[in-house]
Amino acid sequence: MTIRNAATALVVLLATSLLFWPDSGDQEEAVPAGRKEVIFWHFWGGDDRRVVQDIVARFNRSQNDHYVRAIAMPGNNLDLKLFLAVTGGRPPDVINQDDPIVADWAARGALMPLEEIATRQECERLREWLFPAAVDLCEHQGRLYGLCNGLDIRALYYNNTMLKKYGLTPPRTIADLDRIAEEIPANDLPASARPGNSNGGRRIRFGYLPDARRLWAWAIVFGGRWTDDHGKVVLDDEANVRALQWMTSYSRKYGPRTVTAFRQGDQSLPGKSFPLLAGRYAIVMDGQWRTRDIAAAQKREREQGQPVTEYGVCPLPPPPGGRQRAGWVNGNFFLLPRGAANSEGAWEFMKFWSGFGGHEADAAQTCAEGGWIPVSKAVVDQPRFQAFLREQPLFREFVALAAEPFQKPTPVVPGAPFLYREVVSTAESAMYEDDPPAARVLLQRAAKNVDRHLERFNRKRSPAP
């Protein structure tokens, strides 16, 4: 046999063996007799996926009627896959999402409102049971199109050791925050050798720097709004403009190119670690998940016999006339695709996970294991979650903020993904361009774009002439 024949035979053998390759483990498990399958799509990976598998296993053990099969898929094209599945008539029974798409998908008819699967009394109870932010995230035109199972809250993390070193205290007003940004030195060189002085010195630290993506939060803190009383999107509200002007003042002061370069440096930290821990800032805005990183860093310091750096968490400080304990919230929520085969089973699973309807203790365990903020006070009050809060004191502030009325999401309107990108892009223009138009002009321009987009969207939904 020549080498060529041998190679051909090998290729044929490999190709044939692929045909008989056994299915992977997750697909082989059969649905127990007498139970209906619930197909659940999610995008969790890493440690979180183990928590998800555990919840699914607990639910399946608790059930006689339904059996959940969790399918993890990449998050970036989950939307498209869902739409193709809906169009093809075989959608999953339930999916989990965290993008501002509820109203958009609902208006396109891809989602089933909870009112169609739960009784009216149950829905009313649910609204009272949930934190206001958890209702806001899933409500469109007076109906709930999803059930929130975890909230993401942003607050300011501060390095208290650093603040104390320079005689500063955590900020309670925006003026305090500006003063901290002003007084934390750019590096540890003697004052005469710092940037801004003729003899230079590289900047290794900022007291604080606003992030363009967080205009969503600062606008609310400044007393602004993203929708009017009729639910119409408002971008150029006077307080929104003031918030953007304040964010832009940092770029004007330090130079947009310096600010951009320094921000990019945060992305280059090993393992995308928390810039606060690297000492690059005295104060950083971030979500509750960073409490784990801080606990781990402090543990490392203790083990290495180093002095333990003190960190704290505080709400976003308002300017005069602004809002206390306000900010931007997002979260994870379950959605019921229209046309699914087993929406009843999906609804049972959603309640089990979020804790509604007598599942509070289970949900408390889930939230404690995942490090997630519960969506209801009834879950927060469970002993298991209280024990978790005792172990993670910084987490407590986030949970307290979750119950506040001015933790507002990106408006739940059709076209919200476009709206989100437009606002972030506007803030980037204002903060990072060399000679940007005024904040007001930029927001007005964005408002016009968004109005046009929403108008097109609504025209599409109106009946054909």
């Binding site: 970036n76 193709l84 958009d104 370069a261 440096g265 992305q267 972030v424 361009e433 054909a464």
Partner: protein, 323 residues
Amino acid sequence: MNTGASSTRRRHSRRIATALLFIAPWAVGFLLLVLYPFAASLYWSFCEYDLLSPPRFVGGANYRRLARELLAGEGFGRAVWNTAYYAVASVVLSVLAGVGLAVMLSWKVRGQAIYRAIFFLPSVVPTVAAAVLWMWLLDPGGGLVNHWLTALGLPAPNWFKGVQEAAWPPDWWSGRAAFGSKDALVLMSVWGVGNFMIIYLAALGDIPKSLYEAAALDGAGNLRRFWHITLPNLSPVIFFNVVMGVIQAVQAFTQVYLVSEGRGAPAESTLMLSLHIFLAAFQNLEMGYASAIAWMLFVVLLAATAALFHSSRYWVHYQGGSP
């Protein structure tokens, strides 16, 4: 006679049937995967279509929207500007770098093959790997490029994170010009010039020695020989590479998606046409509008290619006359 004719006909039709059978896989694939999407997208470009509900005919509304955005410099207009900037800069620089490298690599020096391999290597690096590599190299804070620029006392641009454009407006004398995200993409595309360079090298080998000998006898120096012999003889290949380069640049997607957080960041400075199509189609679910952009892209590419062909008669020289 009749029997013979009919058997010839039978044989003939059997041969046609066999031929059709052989090309069937390709023909079916072409019809289903190329022709149908092509025709469908043309129809959809006159519709509003969000995947979930049937397309609704809206006449020229999507094209009117494109015209309005083009004039206002928003959305499509922004994407056209970004794409044109990138295409012109990357094609011009690729031709200069490609021809320059090819001429130098044609010199008979020790280790010629090694140099050729080194300059060709970047073009075999997958786009994703190249994008990640360049994001590291051009990191404004910790990147190697800015490290060396700073060491040399030169300004350190923000590259992929900067909204500035080095080439426009051309205000280098003001000291405010800086490289931004599109310039970084151009740099990355010029780095992968190896494919074009290899074609130039092959074409250089085809130039008859006798031309150089004759020029040398007439006393032409190196520069004059390059200008009057090398360049004219390379022009058909330069023309080919310019056409291919324009098409590739206008369709650039993968690297743009990766460096721009998938949304044209910062501040839409990397919102190229293909990314704009992607966002319109799969984020905003505006399939009709996205199809209209795709068709405009097709028309623009066709027009650019036709213009290049038209201009070629003035600067492309074929040995032995026009083909």
